[in-house]
């Protein structure tokens, strides 16, 4: 077995007296999708913020390519090849597609000016390599649909050599068709050999692309499964609260009677 890109063992994080995350172990391999599922407040955000270098873990071990690590900033995580695409923070809406694509890593000419021609050409190529067909990379990103924006952000991460792609609820605000489009690019990134961490609370989005599932609940791991260990019904049942929901149904019936 090759060294995983990311491996956490019993990782934990507390904010003062609040335990946001504890004893969570998971692994991300190259060319595979690890899916993190959980309801609001389950600790999904805390986990990815640790992986992305926004916060630091207090307990457990966090390894990147077999090396124990503690990021001090998102930039450092980025330098280690861990790119994060946040749901609302993916792009700057009023800027053009290619300027967004190169933001923070602008191509420059010998004189230090932005190389617009190259910027436009590379953006168009990188997007079409991902199967994103944009008519005009000069249009503001705000004119794109939510799904297309996510795709531009994903293509950017892939282009700039990310090894691990963390996607925070990429399908949350999208319609059915758009969500499908984004998942297609997630699969494409995976097939290109990236390790993907997909955060979602929709098992129907997670199941088709994921290799591994990590279920979180109230800061703890509710379960960790390989794809062949669980089917979508069981995944949905656990997501929805499983046994608790049955107990609730029972209670309601009792109240009616």
């Amino acid at each position: 077995m090759t060294t995983p890109l990311i491996e956490t063992k019993d990782i934990g994080k507390t904010y003062g007296s609040v335990i946001a995350l504890s004893d969570v172990s998971t692994v991300v391999h190259a060319g595979e999708v690890t899916c993190v599922l959980g309801d609001n407040g389950a600790g999904k955000s805390t986990l990815i913020k640790i992986l992305a270098g926004v916060h630091q873990h207090d307990e457990g071990s966090f390894q990147v390519e077999g090396e124990e690590i503690r990021f001090s900033s998102p930039r450092e995580a980025l330098d280690h090849g861990i790119a994060t695409v946040y749901q609302d923070l993916a792009v700057v809406p009023l800027m053009s597609v290619w300027r967004n694509f190169f933001l923070g890593s602008e191509p420059t000419t010998a004189l230090g000016f932005i190389d617009r021609k190259q910027g436009r050409a590379v953006t168009k190529k990188a997007l079409s390599d991902m199967g994103i067909d944009l008519r005009d990379v000069e249009q503001p990103v705000g004119t794109l649909s939510g799904g297309e924006r996510q795709c531009v952000a994903i293509a950017r991460a892939v282009h700039f050599g990310a090894k691990v792609l963390i996607l925070d609820e990429p399908t949350a605000a999208l319609g059915v068709k758009q969500a499908g489009v984004v998942l297609k690019y997630v699969a494409q990134a995976r097939d290109r050999g990236l390790g993907v961490v997909l955060i979602t609370h929709n098992p129907h989005h997670a199941y088709p692309v994921a290799n591994r599932f990590l279920l979180l609940k109230r800061g703890r791991a509710l379960g960790s499964y390989e794809k062949d260990e669980i089917d979508i019904e069981e995944l949905t049942r656990q997501m929805a609260g499983g046994a608790e929901l049955e107990a609730l149904a029972h209670e309601l019936r009792a109240a009616e009677a």
Partner: protein, 349 residues
């Protein structure tokens, strides 16, 4: 260019054909340019002197110092911040230069340098306070506006016993410094102030910086979405602090032009000008919310200001009408900008 502009063979059913109007209307300075043309034609037809060389020298000069500030303020606004202390800063820098050279006998050139260091320091402090506290720049620079206003009056009265500093003409280095900041140059026999050259130069540098460099890209980014920019590695704090320092630098330039031309400065000068800068920038296509605008547009906004202010004088109207004109101009600019923004930001689902 030719390759990228071509439509792909299989068109996306969600995209409609691009319209020429759409592409043109996205330029933030288009509205201002049309407005400037309108004002120019109107006063050229309505008055005798407006279209003469002497007339042009007057309204260009009026627009120049305002224009330098408007361009700097536009950069800052594109970067998502305001600077209410910008107007008073033009007086503060002039006062520092004047007090140092007339009261302490410092060479004007050295006084200018010290004044520049003071300006950049205040600019950096403004930026640092805004970024560290996370408070709106509106309130932070309102504070520095009041503080500077107090300092201007207090220190001037303390040093000179009055509320003005004069006597620049007799100081060492006045001649050479004045040549750089306050001289005139002839064009077809008409003398034009050098401040116009500074204005054009400042605008050109700002415009190139904004659309042609990494830093310019970051200005749009931090104004449009600061958190997204940070997430992809843009130094948000540094970008914004440099923008505040740029505004302070522009205030120093304008303060130096003023003190060397008029050779005296009132301690209460510059109050209220900060809104003129913002108005010119908004007329030039800047959004109040940041992330969108143009340096050239702000310069044109200042030009409209200068032309209208002097045109009203030439037309022998009461200058009260200028305020009305300004209000109408500002409102129409904001309405146009609002439409532009929605066009650029609209989400298609």
């Amino acid at each position: 260019m030719t390759v990228t502009a071509k439509a792909p063979p299989v068109s996306d059913e969600r995209l409609s054909k691009p319209r020429v109007l759409d592409r043109l209307v996205v330029r933030p300075e288009i509205g201002a340019a049309l407005g400037a043309l309108l004002v120019f034609v109107f006063f050229s037809a309505a008055t005798e002197q407006f279209l003469s060389l002497a007339g042009a020298a007057t309204w260009l000069d009026d627009a120049s110092t305002l224009g330098i500030m408007a361009v700097a303020v536009a950069l800052l606004m594109i970067g998502g911040e305001f600077d209410l202390s910008a107007g008073v800063m033009t007086a503060s820098t002039a006062l520092v230069t004047a007090i140092l050279s007339t009261q302490l006998g410092v060479n004007v050139w050295l006084a200018l340098l010290i004044s520049l260091a003071f300006a950049l320091g205040v600019g950096a402090l403004n930026g640092w306070l805004v970024m560290r506290t996370g408070l709106p720049s509106f309130i932070v620079t309102l504070g520095s506006f009041l503080a500077l206003q107090g300092l201007n009056l207090g220190v001037t009265r303390l040093v000179t016993g009055s509320v003005q500093v004069s006597g620049m003409r007799d100081t060492a280095g006045y001649e050479s410094a004045g040549y750089l900041f306050a001289s005139t140059f002839p064009v077809f026999g008409q003398e034009f102030y050098v401040s116009i050259v500074w204005w054009v130069l400042f605008t050109a540098v700002a415009a190139i910086l904004l659309v042609g460099t990494k830093f310019g890209n970051w200005i749009f980014a931090v104004g449009g979405a600061a958190m997204s920019s940070r997430a992809v590695g843009v130094p948000v704090l540094r970008t914004k602090v440099v923008l505040f320092m740029t505004t302070a630098f522009a205030a120093w330039l304008v303060g130096s032009i003023n003190i060397l031309r008029f050779t005296s400065v009132q301690a209460n000068q510059g109050i209220g000008l900060e809104f003129q800068y913002i108005i010119a920038a908004v007329i030039g296509g800047c959004l109040l919310t940041g992330g969108f605008g143009s340096a050239l547009g702000a310069a044109i906004g200042a030009l409209i200001f200068g032309m209208a202010r002097q045109g009203i004088v030439y037309a022998n109207w009461n200058s009260d009408w200028f305020q009305l004109f300004l209000g109408v101009m500002l409102l129409s600019a904001v309405l146009v900008n609002n439409v532009l923004r929605r066009r650029a930001e609209r989400v298609r689902r």
